[in-house]
């Protein structure tokens, strides 16, 4: 690796071409988000757009949801494997669909739409995007846990032509329309994806027309090298060594209440890092498996980008491209949940890899204390919901509910946000109630039950709504078991597991498991979702008393908590400084006693 700028590359042109490539990817994404139907695309931006070279490396990416970082690399590579095996000749004007989880797809619900780009008759690049669809005609509306194998997931596209040399393959479109529960939305979204892919082709052609295809190629390579250099420089700052952490998944979704262990080993060596997931549970007999190329690797890449190229801390935007993946190796033996063997189902795949991301953080925390957080929620609550109106028509929606972040050096954790690889927007209540049979009762912060510390853990939210028609819900979640809440660090206390409740019309309630398949609700019954809250950073006795006072005044903690956990005594809305000092002394002494 050279660390000096390439002499042959004109730095001015590098900025110009780099900026153009970035804006092409962003334009594709903007168009897709604005015109699409699926809430997961339009509100949650559960999608990504990229330009790739003929080695399937990303030249530029739209950076919408962390979990799509680099997934298009695997999609394109998988698609081209099929194209080559079948001896298909790609031509200008082609647009293909691809969602095969064993050929690069992130999971089958994320359909990739890929258009080859030609210059003077030669294949030079790809314009690609992927987006989460409401339904692909699988066993149940939306997503399903209890699946026998990949074929039960729904329609699988494997380098399937949607458009051939500019002509739509109407048979394919009709076939998909006929095999879908929400055809208007899904077909609409697929149209948007095709339009976005073509936009990328057009803009890339313009760029080549302006600068010449060879120049664009050369500078694309230089940009990838550049991002690689930036990441390597950061990896080198971490001391070489082997770092480990372990965590627990609630259960495998079949045998209840038997937690499964994940062990993560991170090896730093110079400017290279490898993440070894060999100590992972065996693959599961349902859809709770994570495809290796499109999801497992992606979750790891995303974490390193977050940790090492924190966009809040640096004024410099590092182009998102394959350079950021080169220094990272992910080891996951075949047959484990992170690299399942064909044809295991993989539709509900997100949570385990988000836990891995957090475990990498925990493993590295001791050597980068100024960068690492206390334990984060590191999951998401994906709620796949559907029902039938009195007239027999379907409603289908997907909701992703928030978690939180652990306390940080110098800052409290972020409250009620999506965590790590998830960064999705909620749907406004006022939008949902105007368009779906929902009635909301509550959407508020969770009080009192989060990690305490000098920098408190982020709290999460409770969301409570009734279904106005009979409904069924499949849940994608983790961290509901008591075994492994987000840990506190440096003396902070842990966060609290999440909970799902089913409130019956007679006033009774049941607690649901984190992962339930097609759980039924009668009309008027309510679902209550309580997010996972995060761990605290540092001892609560070190927290500035005025912050404790504010948390108390804000009803986030009780006066008992202020006194017993933080050692802060509040009288008439003010901190009693003297009593606080005494209380903290005695609490410290008690802690010291215990530790002896």
């Amino acid at each position: 690796m050279s660390t000096a700028p390439e002499q042959t590359v004109d730095p001015v042109l590098l900025q110009i071409i780099g900026g153009e490539l970035g804006s092409i990817a962003k334009e594709m994404a903007h168009q897709l988000i604005r015109s699409s139907y699926s809430v997961l695309i339009r509100e949650s931006e559960d999608m990504g757009c990229a330009l790739l070279n003929t080695r399937y490396e990303e030249i530029a990416e739209s950076d919408n949801t962390p979990f799509h970082v680099g997934s298009l690399v695997a999609y394109t590579k998988g698609m081209m494997q099929t194209v080559e095996e079948r001896g298909i000749e790609l031509r200008p004007g082609d647009v293909l669909a691809h969602n095969h989880p064993y050929l690069g797809a992130s999971h089958s619900l994320d359909i990739g739409v890929i258009a080859p780009i030609f210059w003077e008759g030669e294949l030079v690049a790809f314009s690609a995007n992927t987006a989460h669809h409401l339904d692909i005609g699988g066993a149940q509306p939306g997503g399903t846990i209890d699946l026998f194998d990949m074929y039960a997931e729904g329609r699988i596209f494997n380098a399937t032509f949607l458009v051939r040399e500019g002509q739509r393959d109407e048979n394919m479109w009709r076939f998909f329309t006929d095999n879908n529960r929400a055809p208007r939305q899904v077909i609409g979204d697929l149209e948007c994806q095709v339009a976005a892919a073509r936009h990328g082709v057009r803009r890339f052609e313009q760029l080549m027309a302006k600068h010449g295809s060879e120049t664009v190629r050369l500078y694309s390579e230089a940009l990838i090298d550049y991002s690689e250099r930036m990441l390597r420089a950061e990896i080198e700052k971490i001391p070489d060594g082997e770092y480990r952490a372990e965590g627990w998944l609630d259960d495998d979704g079949v045998t209840r209440d038997v937690p499964e262990r994940i062990g993560v080993k991170v090896v730093i060596s110079g400017s290279e890092v490898s993440v070894d997931l060999s100590e992972s549970p065996p693959q599961r007999p349902n859809a709770l498996n994570t495809p290796y190329g499109g999801s497992t690797c992606v979750g790891v890449y995303s974490l390193f980008r977050t940790l090492l190229l924190d966009t809040f801390l640096s004024e410099k935007y590092i182009p998102a491209n394959s350079g950021g993946f080169r220094p990272i190796t992910v080891i996951a033996p075949e047959g484990t949940i992170f690299n399942p063997r064909f044809p295991a189902a993989t539709q509900i795949r997100f949570n385990p890899i988000n836990r891995v991301a957090d475990l990498i953080l925990q493993a590295l925390a001791p050597v980068i204390p100024d960068r690492a957080t206390a334990g984060n929620s590191a999951q998401l609550n994906g709620m796949y919901m559907s029902g039938v109106y009195p007239d027999g028509s379907y409603w289908i929606t997907i909701e992703v509910d928030e978690g939180s972040y652990g306390g940080r050096p110098g800052k409290d954790g972020m409250d009620a946000v999506d965590c790590l690889s998830a960064n999705i927007r909620n749907q406004p209540i006022e939008d949902i109630e105007m368009h779906l049979p929902f009635r909301f009762h509550r959407y508020e912060l969770i009080e009192r039950e989060f990690g305490h510390g000098r920098w408190r853990g982020g709290t999460s939210a409770v969301r409570d709504y009734a279904f106005l028609t009979p409904a069924q819900v499949t849940t994608e979640s983790e961290r509901h078991a008591d075994i492994d809440p987000p840990p506190g660090v440096f003396g902070g206390t842990p966060g609290r597991p999440g909970r799902f409740w089913h409130l019956h019309n007679d006033g009774t309630r049941d607690r649901l498991y984190s992962k339930v398949n097609a759980h039924r609700f009668a009309e008027g019954e309510r679902l209550v979702i309580e997010g996972v809250t995060s761990g605290g950073y540092g001892s609560p006795l070190e927290r500035e008393p005025v912050r404790v006072l504010h948390d108390y005044l804000d009803d986030l903690i009780s006066s008992e908590q202020a006194e017993e956990i933080y050692g802060v005594l509040i009288r008439d809305g003010e901190v009693d400084e003297e009593a606080t000092r005494r209380r903290r002394e005695s609490l410290r002494a008690a802690t010291a006693q215990r530790e002896r």
């Binding site: 000096a4 700028p5 390439e6 002499q7 001015v12 900025q15 110009i16 900026g19 804006s23 334009e27 168009q31 604005r34 015109s35 699409s36 139907y37 339009r42 509100e43 962390p66 208007r184 149209e191 948007c192 339009a195 550049y226 250099r229 924190d310 966009t311 809040f312 801390l313 410099k316 953080l361 960068r371 690492a372 928030e402 972040y405 940080r408 800052k411 972020m414 409250d415 009620a416 946000v417 999506d418 999705i424 927007r425 909620n426 406004p428 209540i429 006022e430 939008d431 109630e433 105007m434 009635r439 909301f440 959407y443 508020e444 912060l445 939210a461 409570d464 504010h550 804000d554 009803d555």
Partner: protein, 722 residues
């Protein structure tokens, strides 16, 4: 009509007086950060003296202010309370549960870090409205009164009332408004359906809370300003610039403070349009480059608004109509730097005013865009700011050299590289807002202003193949001129949420009638032409998440089909395709009322052809500068005199300059003529390359461009035929 325009920026207060004997008089003085109103009143007296009028002769005051903006961005507003639906106390805190940064552990979420309303002042009250507007839970008035009393005891001076679905039925919000008036009469009140009757609770609640947060401060400022003006004899109506490109009457602006958040950039757009129209151009791109940022807007024959869903300020969503102006971190102070990966960057960070560019000699060592201009001979160190600030060429060269060294560039190559990169950033932004949205820059004229706009315009126009550039006189105070070209403009919105196919005309008409009524009330007391009402509908294909605007003017025979077609067309324009058979939903209705203000600088009405005094911008040099360094006056420009357009002629240069241009990518030093803009009369013809100096700016006419000074003082240049 004698109109006074006062644009208070962070650094300078720009003042213009139109309708006086000499046409337009301009004046500039530093803004006082403690009390911006003081400089304003002082400047008013000074400019009146320059123009030889008494303040009592002023017939209209137009004012642009950053008071609201600063209060929001500096988190320096009132202690604010919120009364909201029980069960939904934390909508302001949870937001859309999305982090601003995808890739960051250490980021701040602005609305969590700096809440507009602390949680202890967010008081839930039992009530609930559900679609389509029914009361599911009646308002618990007892609870509401208790909440108000608690807020009063806590010293809250401004209260936002935000209930779910209040835009469908405002009854509960109105009632709580009455209860506040009864139980905490000193409090400012902001009801969410009044601030913006749009769905999406986080955005509406935040906009309302922001309004409540900044309102007391804005009102106090305006009251003080009004009192100051009254004291010196200004008795006429005072209008305040809003983000939507129109002005609001004084009281309206105080009540809806959130609408004036982006008044500065909006005034720049209006100015650009005015200059374009005066010179016969309707399709325009405006480029306002200052010290830290460049404001860019595209005007394809009409003013474009930002989609409200894209509208954020300081990380808070602000749902208020605003002109589509984008700001990027590219200006004279933008710093050039090389990062760890070896890339050559310019901006977005700026050296600011202190230490400023290296050439200022105030201790700055980092190379900036201004330093590059000095190295290339484009900015003359001896005449910067009319000679009031000597620049150091040596320091500029040292700084620029340092950034070029890793790339084996000599100092001139590095300076050219800095300009190329900063220009490319602006070109990319203009492309994003023009070509991507279906507007062709080749059909537009570029209006270049701001202190640094005229330095960059030719090269940017070249890159975008823009054929014409308009350089208004006194580019440093162009925004103030925009104030004189505004209209009185108010907006009203109603979220309706109905399918177009089944929408009833009567219902839509009723909503428009309500809005018309509301808007007319806001015009109460306004003397001027009857407002023109414009009606629009925000639509989407049922199931989509973002709306586009369809026209909705007359609901007569065939209105559904017309509206549908208008929406399809808009969708196609925006995204490149339509869904022909898909049902269309009307999400919200909007009405805009516009009443013209007869304050345009004289030349506007006549298309710049007749004998009006054109922008014979009068310099108040002598007297205005009496305050020593504290007051800098606008220098005279375009002294066309009262005789109107003169015959085309080649003016005499005031000197020459050594300027470096790029030729086939390599620096080439050329000796070019230098002109003094104040000596260029109407009809003066210039041929690039040359340099035109004026008090607050330098204009670089690149090789291949030539043009004439127009009757209004604008220099219009065109690319030479090749």
């Amino acid at each position: 009509m004698i109109a006074l325009a006062v644009d208070v920026g962070g650094t300078n207060t720009d003042i213009m007086l139109s309708g006086v004997r000499d046409g337009v008089v301009v004046h500039k003085l530093p803004t006082s950060s403690e009390d911006p109103s003081a400089a304003t009143v002082q400047g008013t007296l000074q400019i009146c003296e320059l123009a030889g009028i008494s303040p009592s002769q002023i017939e209209l005051v137009l004012h642009g202010t950053t008071v609201a903006t600063n209060a929001l961005l500096e988190h320096d507003g009132a202690r604010t309370g919120l009364i909201t639906t029980a069960g939904f106390r934390d909508i302001l805190h949870i937001g859309r549960h999305q982090r601003p940064h995808n890739f960051s552990l250490m980021q701040d979420i602005p609305f969590q870090q700096w809440p507009l309303v602390a949680r202890r002042h967010r008081r839930p009250v039992r009530e609930r409205i559900v679609p389509p507007g029914e009361v599911a839970v009646p308002l618990d008035e007892q609870e509401a009164v208790e909440a108000i009393q608690l807020l009063r005891e806590d010293g809250v001076e401004s209260i936002a009332v935000c209930f779910l679905f209040s835009f469908l039925n405002p009854r509960h919000e109105l009632r709580v408004g009455e209860l506040i008036a009864e139980h905490h009469p000193q409090a400012e009140v902001s009801l969410s359906h009044r601030v913006i009757a749009q769905f999406r609770e986080f955005e509406r609640f935040t906009t309302t809370a922001a309004n409540a947060f900044i309102k007391p401060k804005v009102r106090r400022y305006l009251d003080r300003l009004q009192a100051g003006w009254r004291e010196v004899g200004v008795r006429c109506p005072i209008h305040i610039m809003q983000s939507n490109g129109g002005v609001a009457a004084f009281e309206q602006a105080a009540e809806r403070a959130v609408n004036v958040l982006l008044s500065g950039p909006a005034a720049g757009v209006i100015a650009g349009r005015h200059i374009g129209r005066q010179n016969g151009h309707e399709n325009l791109i405006t480029l306002d480059i200052g010290g830290t940022s460049a404001d860019i807007s595209v005007i394809p024959g009409r003013l474009l608004e930002l989609n409200m869903q894209d509208s954020y300020m300081g990380g808070y969503p602000i749902l208020s109509p605003k002109l589509d102006v984008t700001a990027i971190g590219a200006g004279g102070g933008s710093v050039a730097w090389v990062d760890a990966g070896g890339a050559f960057n310019v901006g977005p960070r700026s050296a600011g005013a202190e230490p400023g560019p290296a050439c200022y000699g105030h201790g700055g060592t980092e190379p900036t865009v201004t330093d590059a201009h000095v190295v290339l001979g484009r900015v003359d160190p001896g005449t910067f700011l009319g000679g009031r600030m000597e620049l150091s060429t040596v320091k500029a060269r040292e700084a620029v050299e340092s950034v070029g060294a890793p790339f084996a560039m000599n100092v001139e190559q590095a300076a050219l590289a800095i300009l190329q990169i900063v220009n490319a950033n602006m070109v990319r932004e203009i492309r994003l807002h023009s070509i991507r949205r279906g507007y062709d820059p080749r059909e537009c004229a570029l209006v270049a202003f701001g202190g640094a706009g005229p330095l960059h315009a030719c090269e940017i126009a070249e890159e975008l193949q823009i054929p014409t550039i308009l350089f208004p006189p006194s580019p440093g105070i162009t925004s103030a001129m925009g104030l004189l070209a505004t209209d009185l403009k108010y907006d009203a919105v109603r979220t309706v949420g109905m399918m177009l196919q089944s929408a009833e005309r009567e219902v839509l008409e009723q909503r428009f009638a309500e809005m018309g009524q509301e808007l007319r009330e806001r015009f109460a007391g306004h003397v001027g032409p009857e407002p023109v009402m414009r009606r629009e509908a925000a639509c989407r294909y049922a199931g989509q998440g973002y709306e586009l605007t369809a026209s909705c003017d007359e609901l007569d025979e065939g209105w559904r089909e017309r509206m549908q077609e208008s929406f399809h067309r808009q969708h196609e324009h925006e995204y490149g395709f339509r869904f022909p058979g898909d049902p269309v939903e009307i999400i919200s209705l909007r009405m805009t009322a516009i009443s013209e203000i007869p304050a345009r600088p004289a030349s506007a009405e006549s298309g710049g052809s007749s004998a009006e005094s054109g922008g014979s911008a009068e310099s108040g040099s002598g007297s205005a500068e009496s305050g020593g360094s504290s007051a800098e006056s606008g220098s005279g420009s375009a002294q066309s005199g009262s005789a109107g357009a003169q015959a085309r002629h080649a003016p005499d240069p005031s000197g020459s300059a050594e300027v470096v241009f790029a030729r086939d990518g390599m620096p080439e030093r050329r000796t070019v003529p230098r002109y003094d803009r104040s000596a260029l009369g109407s009809g003066a013809a210039l041929q690039g390359p040359c340099i035109v100096l004026e008090m607050d700016s330098t204009l670089v006419l690149a090789p291949g461009w030539s043009g004439d000074v127009m009757p209004d003082g604008t220099l219009r240049v065109r690319r030479d035929q090749q």
